[in-house]
């Protein structure tokens, strides 16, 4: 009874989620990013084009140091582009004439090493966005933060500092903080990289649960292929530096997914299909002497 009917195509929205106008679609068009000069610089991203569909999870997989994070930083507005353009819901974030996007609460990043402010309690962290933007009073923001944390199963740690909770829980608090400001898209930069595999599996299901509730568009970077196929509607496999899409896969395993998916035949097929491609890029990256950053 645990096996999903793996071959049925899941184009329909997940049960329980109203067909609302989805937001957060990102179009990445012909993006090039070069660090340094034309001659002496490093080409990190090379004519990269793909779409991040609204209301879905898009996972970008590639070897460490391939330039995935560069792409994410360009969307978030931390870095400028060398050329190309990026659109969010058909509005240009950055492109010709404005090579660097403005960071804003419509695109929230969850960082690789976590960026909860250690000097603020968990609830103050979660309430930070609305208070800074000034559209909520401190009291209302804290109240909403309390509710959202409770919803995410994070009751009882509101007044603790991030240093007092485990790193898995910290990551969940950080995602709740991201959702507080109702972003169009969440940008997750290898958020579970530092976690052990048991914690990771719990975190994956927690992330999916959050996704099913909020239907926020998710752009997820990882080097873990299994994680990518398990989470993603769409998996973009990147070449090693300079990075551009090698293969784009639409994962037709129906949502909602849970851990039983990992043992299905369809999941293994996707793994088999892609493992070779990923391994090839990893080998190239290794040969080119890419180091863990």
């Amino acid at each position: 009874m645990t096996t999903q009917p793996a071959y049925t195509r899941s184009s329909a929205p997940v049960a329980g989620v109203a067909a609302q106008a989805r937001k957060g679609g990102v179009r990445i068009m012909d993006v090039v990013k070069r660090y340094g000069t034309q001659d002496a610089g490093v080409l990190a991203v090379d004519h990269c084009t793909f779409d991040v569909p609204a209301g879905e999870i898009t996972v970008v997989v590639g070897p460490s140091g391939c330039g995935k994070t560069t792409l994410l930083n360009a969307i978030a507005g931390f870095h400028s582009l060398t050329s190309g353009s990026i659109y969010l819901d058909n509005e240009m974030l950055c492109g010709p004439g404005r090579l660097k996007a403005e960071p804003g609460p419509d695109r929230i990043v969850v960082f690789q090493n976590g960026a909860l402010f250690p000097w603020k309690t968990n609830i103050e962290n979660v309430a930070f966005g609305p208070i800074m933007q000034g559209y909520m009073t401190r009291k209302d923001a804290l109240e909403k933060a309390r509710d959202m944390m409770a919803d995410a199963g994070l009751r009882g740690i509101e007044n603790n500092y991030p240093g007092e909770i485990s790193s898995g829980v910290r990551r969940r608090v950080e995602i709740v903080r991201a959702l507080m400001t109702d972003p169009k898209i969440l940008l997750l930069d290898e958020p579970y990289r530092a976690l052990d595999s048991l914690t990771k599996s719990v975190m994956h299901e927690a992330l999916l649960e959050i996704f099913y509730k909020n239907r926020v568009t998710i752009f997820f970077i990882t080097h873990d292929l299994e994680e990518a196929i398990f989470l993603g509607h769409r998996v973009v496999i990147m070449t090693t530096r300079p990075c551009k899409p090698k293969t784009i896969l639409d994962i037709d395993i129906p949502h909602p997914r849970d851990y039983n998916v990992l043992t299905t035949k369809r999941f293994r097929e996707f793994m088999d299909e892609t493992a070779a491609a990923v391994h090839e890029e990893a080998t190239k990256a290794f040969a080119a002497g890419e180091k863990e950053r």
Binding site: P103, V109, G129, Q133, S167, R177, T181
Partner: protein
């Protein structure tokens, strides 16, 4: 009741953030542990919990070997002093006042050389020195912390100011003595100025390093969440630099005593440095030692006071470190 059992959490503080591999699966039981901590250390009953924590720490301290080792350390030091001077009469120690001489002078109601804990003058010297330190330290902090914050925060500002700062910094406070006496009238201001100088450099430099040590992710996260530039400054830069600032203040108060005594030996009419210097010229050797010991004690107290203030202002850090300590 305070040491919440948390497996494997001991070395997993934010200071070793990049090594967070030892995390574990969040379970309902862990949530209730967390709640336990909140109950004992939470914001609502902070006063009670702080007191309880202090008692708890004191009890732990007495159970540990530390106080006894400390006692042995002091005994060895004082014992050597006593034996070297008064029993063995070693060659280099012939002129030195012995332990018993100093202690009986220090505790005497009628001291031979005029300074003991029963003399009003003793406290006047302490008070004058402490007041000078307080003024100099306050000025150094009030100017040094903002300067350091801006040095770390604005590249442009740093390019203007830092080269000058770095050229002035190696000039020892003692080299400023003549200029200080020429520049400032009286005997009080030059001493305070010298004390201020040493403090100021330590505070400003550490504050700047503190700002520069802040992980760029925090700044990016804040701007993602919609914080304006000055909000980032207020909510990320200042608290993020606080650990370094307090390290700087600890160093600053130490070097303040250092240059205070130097200043008081050159000019000034009261103060512990003055006591030491005049006692030397007037051959009151036990009083020199009294001055030195008093400096040690008062210096330790000021240092400890700043550490306590730091712990109070950085609850998040204190709690993190406490979690590590209780393992």
């Amino acid at each position: 009741m305070i040491s919440a059992p948390r497996g494997g959490r001991g070395d997993d503080t934010a200071r070793t953030k990049q090594f967070e591999i030892k995390s574990h699966v969040m379970s309902q039981t862990e949530l209730s542990h967390s709640r336990g901590i909140t109950a004992t250390r939470g914001n609502t009953d902070g006063h009670v919990s702080t007191l309880a924590l202090t008692f708890h720490r004191a009890a732990l301290w007495l159970q540990s070997p530390r106080p006894y080792l400390m006692f042995i350390g002091f005994s060895l030091f004082l014992g050597f002093w006593y034996l070297a001077v008064e029993v063995w009469k070693l060659p280099r120690f012939a002129e030195m006042p012995g332990l018993t001489t100093v202690v009986s002078e220090w505790l005497s109601k009628n001291p031979t050389y005029g300074l003991s804990i029963f003399m009003e003058e003793y406290y006047l010297h302490i008070w004058v020195s402490t007041r000078r330190i307080a003024i100099a330290f306050f000025l150094a902090t009030a100017i040094g912390v903002p300067l350091g914050l801006f040095l770390g925060w604005s590249k442009r500002f740093k390019q203007y100011v830092f080269p000058v700062f770095e050229l002035l910094r190696p000039v020892p406070p003692l080299a400023w003595v003549p200029l200080a006496i020429v520049m400032f009238a009286g005997s009080e201001t030059p001493v305070i100025f010298l004390t201020f100088l040493a403090s100021f450099y330590a505070t400003a430099l550490n504050t700047m390093l503190g700002v520069e040590s802040i992980d760029v992710s925090y700044i990016r996260a804040a701007s993602c969440l919609g914080a304006k530039r000055w909000q980032v400054f207020r909510h990320v830069i200042v608290p993020g630099a606080l650990p370094f600032i307090f390290t700087g203040l600890q160093i600053s108060v130490g070097v303040a005593w250092f240059s205070l005594v130097a200043g008081e030996m050159v000019s000034g009419q009261y103060g512990l440095g003055y006591v030491i210097n005049t006692s030397y010229t007037m051959v009151r050797y036990p009083t020199i030692i009294i001055g030195m010991v008093t400096l040690g004690i008062v210096g330790y107290v000021t240092s400890a006071a700043i550490r306590m203030l730091g712990n109070y202002m950085m609850q998040w850090r204190t709690r993190e470190l406490a979690l590590g300590e209780e393992r």
